[in-house]
């Protein structure tokens, strides 16, 4: 299906609403049913851990949220990568990642989840380390005769920062640098002013569903007509609202722009939000570099999926992130963080509150289908799923995982 790199006019009954732009050629991903095997087989999950999560750059969150100041550290248990990560903001300003391991006998070095320190001291025998990971002091060093200090730093984990986002890579020498890995999607968002935004909300849930199904709930708009019929009532009844206006594939990543109904009628609270600030629903536009890269008419927001498990969705005056952490083939922890531009007055802050509350309530709707469909996949009655053209991102994600797993 190698489509030309230009606008494709799909023929379907509402084609007069708008057309779907696919701005690059598509790999041959097929268009038939997809087996549910990869969503429920433990062996497949093990392969994903080795071939996907141990090779890709994995987002850990923002410096400003996790370790904003020199000396700050945070510990994250990463089941899917098989190690415990210790992230440290060095006194030299460098963000470094380590295994949370004392190289002497293997005790966990930081025993609290987060903190601020000038030196990390192992609670087992008191070996201490500088924030760059180098060994500082060994109690009774003379008792280690064959001992080269340089061999006893905290074991490193490859870590880099892009636009304030921390990424780690389980490989000592990754096949690609972080910037190379983020590729065209990173480039499109390069100048988005992430640093000007404030963190305003965080949500999480532990859900009985495969991580891929979970992700698939968030990069197509086709489900708006049913799942969000209550929260976007005027939009949901309008034919065509569930269409993406443009899709951009960037190697393993992709970006989908979503259409906004220009006739959308605001509810009373929403109308206040539009009048006094920037809201999630299409109201006033706040033009920022990186938004609406295909210059679509009636643009609403962009869904940016960074392979394998991270989203940055961007809109007028807000962005939010999702991280999907596989726990097992059947369980995933989902985290969402919402960011907004600094509110200059109470009206803007009330509008932001509206955006936050609406997004959160919409998430209850999104999460509602997850465990049902995972059970269905285990039932034996559902052998395949069938993503359509409007769910192109679902097919692309599935296809990319397959490519990596079989590489």
């Amino acid at each position: 299906m190698n489509a030309p790199a230009e606008k494709i006019n799909l023929t379907y009954p509402i084609k007069d609403t708008h057309s779907l732009k696919i701005t690059n050629s598509l790999p041959d991903m097929g268009n038939g049913p997809i087996s549910v095997g990869p969503y429920i087989q433990s062996e497949y999950f093990e392969k994903e851990k080795q071939k996907v999560f141990s090779r890709a750059w994995i987002n850990m969150g923002r410096v400003s949220d996790l370790i904003p100041k020199p000396g700050d550290y945070v510990v994250r248990d990463l089941d899917v990568l098989g190690f415990t990560l210790l992230l440290i903001h060095g006194t030299d300003g460098v963000i470094r990642g380590f295994h949370n391991i004392c190289p002497h006998r293997g005790n966990g070095l930081a025993i609290r989840e987060s903190g601020n320190a000038r030196t990390l001291v192992c609670t087992y025998h008191g070996w201490s380390f500088n924030l760059d990971g180098s060994l500082k002091h060994v109690v009774g060093e003379e008792s280690f005769p064959a001992f080269d200090r340089a061999d006893y730093g905290i074991p490193k984990i490859t870590t880099d920062v892009w636009n304030g986002f921390i990424f780690v890579n389980a490989q000592e020498h990754p096949e690609q640098s972080l910037v190379e890995f983020l590729g065209g999607l990173g480039k499109d968002l390069e100048n988005f002013p992430f640093n000007d935004f404030n963190h305003i909300a965080r949500y999480s849930a532990h859900v009985g569903v495969n991580w891929k199904s979970f992700i698939d709930a968030f990069h197509e708009a086709y489900h708006l007509i049913m799942v969000h019929a209550r929260s976007f009532p005027h939009m949901a009844v309008k034919p065509g609202v569930w269409l993406p206006t443009s899709v951009r594939l960037h190697g393993p990543h992709h970006s989908v722009s979503v259409w906004a109904d220009p006739d959308h009628k605001a509810s009373p609270a929403e109308a206040l939000a539009w009048k006094y600030g920037a809201a999630f629903t299409p109201g006033k536009d706040v033009p920022l570099p990186g938004l609406n890269p295909s210059a679509d008419d009636n643009w609403w927001f962009d869904i940016n999926t960074f392979f394998p498990n991270f989203f940055i969705d961007v809109g007028s005056g807000w962005y939010f992130t999702y991280n999907f952490w596989p726990v097992s083939v059947d369980e995933t922890i989902w985290e969402m963080n919402i960011y907004q531009l600094d509110a200059k007055n109470a009206g803007q802050q009330i509008a932001q509150e509206y955006t936050k509350c609406l997004l959160r309530d919409v998430l209850y709707e999104d999460l509602s289908t997850m465990e049902r469909l995972h059970k269905a996949m285990h039932s034996g009655a559902l052998k395949t799923i069938l993503p359509g053209t409007f769910e192109l991102a679902v097919r692309h994600q599935h296809w990319t995982v397959e490519q990596w797993v079989n590489s």
Partner: protein, 107 residues
Amino acid sequence: MSKRLPESFAALASFTDKWVVSTEAERHLARLTAGMDELRSLYDAMLPRMEAIIEYLNGFDLKKLSEENRNLLILSFSFIEVSTSIEFFKSPTVPDGFDFRRFKVWK
């Protein structure tokens, strides 16, 4: 016991005890566990005043609000919080939605 509000909005005092709570997690839980009548009475009292509240609060530096003004702002957040229940869901919780006891609100 009611919390202080600016004089021109004193009529809203009866809502402050429950709804002037500073975190989203507290306001959200208050909404999820309230009855629809209670949500409706807050919504109905606030909606016609919201423009006046915003115009009034916009006259102050957001970073240096007095206690009364901050209480009024937080009460407005609670109005926003309950608005989706009234305008969209006709229910304190999201109908057919994910179980709120399993959904963690961190802030």
